[in-house]
């Protein structure tokens, strides 16, 4: 039975993809140190989270049947420390949390497996635009202003609002996940304010997960990339025009990966997406209430809760993705078309190669199905036609056999 579990349940857009990639790529090395990251594919814990919460995810849930129980069993079977990490776990309901903790060996009275809850957090000033952008990269068609309206609905009756606060409201996430855990086993890792040292966040993760001193391979990249204002506006327009025609199995590689991640995210000179300055006061007020609550609860903080305050957006640099510069959107659209043309050309070339291979295989099949006698006759004819004596003999044979068989 696992002695200790480091359970990382969020939040999104806090460097979680990078962390999970490092853990996945180094899992063999970690295991030698007694640390288990049980996953046979990089998104293994994502599938487990979908299964735990019974969430549909564009068809991916089909691969998630039984994934949580499998993960939990691997954790229980490991004699040492295990790591479980996925950011969408943040939105789990109390019932799902109870099931998850019980399946990992936790007992509400504190006996059983020693669970350490880890939540990485970032300021709402950056999280709000990032969440809208994430929605846009998942086929959403609503404007930024509409998104802001939905997340400000106090009832949270719309799925966008309930999801946003489910994965972002730090005091509530910790209340749901930490109801039966002592505060010293609840660790908050704060994402440094913009402009901080590049590897500071990793140092904090490393400290929280007990990875300090391990020679891990850190060169891997699976970070979620961000889009600028015109690029976000463009993807939203593409969603409006085409997302309904594109099933998830095509949307994911073409729009999210090829266009958003591989093409548009490289345009780093365009205005960056940010919180509208007129929204800052309520965000700042809410943040102060969170900091006060989290301080009072006495959790272990890796970093500084002051990082949650973020930086007030500037009126001078604010660009509205609902009213973007059309010239910038056109420029982004041209690059998107270029990428799609290149991809289309590459696919056409690949299709030609496969067609040729298929034709070759078809010929092989015909040959394999041709009777041996016929093949030996073809071979004999081929040999005879290569010499003058053979050709004469063949001609004599054909004259004797008659006109009907000349083709033989």
């Amino acid at each position: 039975m696992s002695k200790r579990v480091l359970l990382h349940v969020g939040t999104p857009k806090t460097g979680t993809s990078y962390l999970q990639d490092v853990l996945f790529q180094n899992r063999a090395l970690l295991l030698k140190q007694g640390l288990s990251y049980p996953a046979d594919r990089f998104d293994g814990h994502f599938l487990a989270a979908l299964d735990l919460m019974r969430l549909r995810w564009g068809g991916l849930e089909r691969e998630a049947v039984g994934a949580w129980d499998k993960l939990a069993k691997e954790v229980r079977d490991h004699d040492g420390t295990s790591i479980v990490s996925h950011e969408i776990l943040a939105t789990a309901s109390r019932r799902q949390v109870e099931r998850a903790l019980a399946s990992l060996g936790h007992e509400p009275d504190g006996s059983g497996t020693e669970i350490h809850l880890i939540v990485s957090v970032r300021d709402l000033v950056r999280q709000i635009p990032a969440e809208w952008q994430e929605n846009v990269k998942h086929r959403a068609t609503f404007r930024y202003a509409r998104f802001l309206e939905l997340i400000r609905d106090p009832e949270r009756s719309h799925r966008v609002g309930s999801w946003f606060w489910g994965v972002q409201e730090i005091p509530d996430i910790l209340a749901r996940w930490g109801a039966t855990l002592p505060p010293e086993r609840i660790h908050i890792v704060t994402v440094p304010a913009p402009g901080g040292p590049r590897d500071l966040l990793w140092q904090r993760f490393s400290s929280a997960f007990g990875l300090d001193g391990l020679e891990l391979e850190l060169t891997t990249e699976r970070a979620n990339v961000s889009l600028g204002v015109p690029e976000s506006a463009l993807v939203r327009r593409i969603n409006r025009a085409a997302a309904r025609d594109l099933p998830p199995v095509h949307y994911r590689p073409l729009v999210r990966e090829l266009l958003a991640h591989q093409t548009l995210s490289r345009r780093t000179d365009s205005p960056r997406l940010s919180l509208p300055p007129d929204q800052y006061p309520w965000v700042a007020e809410l943040t102060e209430s969170w900091i006060a609550e989290l301080t009072e609860r006495g959790y272990d903080v890796v970093g500084d809760l002051a990082d949650l305050r973020g930086v007030a957006p500037s009126e001078d640099t604010w660009a509205d993705p609902d009213k973007p510069s059309e010239a910038q959107v056109s420029q982004a659209a041209l690059e998107a078309i270029r990428a799609l043309l290149l991809e289309s050309g590459a696919r056409e070339a690949e299709a030609d190669r496969l067609r040729a291979k298929l034709e070759e295989a078809r010929r092989e099949l015909i040959r394999a199905r041709t009777p041996r006698l016929m093949r030996s006759m073809e071979w004999t004819v081929g040999r005879l036609e290569n010499s003058s004596q053979g050709r004469r003999a063949l001609g004599a044979y054909r004259r004797v056999r008659g006109r009907n068989s000349l083709s033989a």
């Binding site: 019974r54 089909r62 109390r94 109870e98 009756s157």
Partner: protein
Amino acid sequence: MDGQRRAWGWAAALRDGATTPWMDWPADSSGEGAPLSTSLPGAQQLALLRRLNEVAQAAGRTVPLATADRVLAAGVSGRGRGELALVGAAEAGRFGAPPVDPAALSDDELLRVAAGLIADDVAAHDGDPEPDRSLLERARQLRRPWVASFLVLGVQWRAEPARAGLVAHGHRPGGRRPTAYLLADDLGTVLAHAWAARAFDQGGPTWSDFVRNSASFGHLPPRADLPRMARSAAHKYGAGRVVVVLDPSVLATLLGVRSLQGPPQLGAHAIDLVRRVGEPLGLLVDAARRPELLRSTLAARLDGHGGPLPSVPPRWQSWLSSQAERTHHELAAAGYPVLGDLDLLLAGSLPSEPVVPVDAEVLDLALGLLLDPIDPPKETTA
């Protein structure tokens, strides 16, 4: 008084069959109770159990304790709010979704709990052995050598039971150079059948979204595109071997059977319930097994329920008419032989009030399935 203890008192009473709304529950010590488990059920679960008690009471019955316990312990399926706190029971928390009066919850919220429970019941049948067929049934299924080669095509929801019925009578589709019979109907019905097929396969969109999406694409969804199916069959078997069927009785006579087996008679509300159950079920069983499981469990139970098939809302009727004209034109222009009257393809008179799934009706069906589950849960002691 302690709001939590009052809530536990209400939960215990609901478990025993009470139907009193939360807001009418005694606020003095007579309404208090001891905790039944580690955490109070959500407002959605408690509201669903109260509704279930009302249905049982109206039928002169009581909800079995095991069922009540299942409801109280259930989760909430899909995206949306998690378990909600009861107003007046929880401390006025500054964080999380605000507490609610369970009576004010929408039917859709209660259906999120009910769908998860029904999905569990359906999933319990995964792996059931195929029922043994009698010798007579097996003999009936043997292919008659004198039956001409044929295939039955069309919307899966309609064609599949027709094929199954024919197989059961020894008319196994297939053979050399078959004639492909394309089952057609008025386009409104074809569209409703396509939505039903999708609900069983994937869950998928609501009826309104399905129609709106189809109309905004400017073409019919593939499952309802009869000319496309006919072209595909003509490509495979030859244009002269594709026959459009608008009078199934003529086809039945041609094939030598009394009638063609139709699909289960599921109305708009019943199909919508299947759609909702299909979503959590997708996380419980293999995707390939889901349609058959839903057919063998829910379709059988809901046959004849849920009102009429859904109809296209007025806003999209002109789109439907133009698609019906197009379908008629393409099939006529291709010159496929027709059994029956091709004009039946054109949308007939639509009901004065459009038939669309209504959450309250869907919830009624779900409550029926919770009261009389596919497999009754084992009784527990109080």
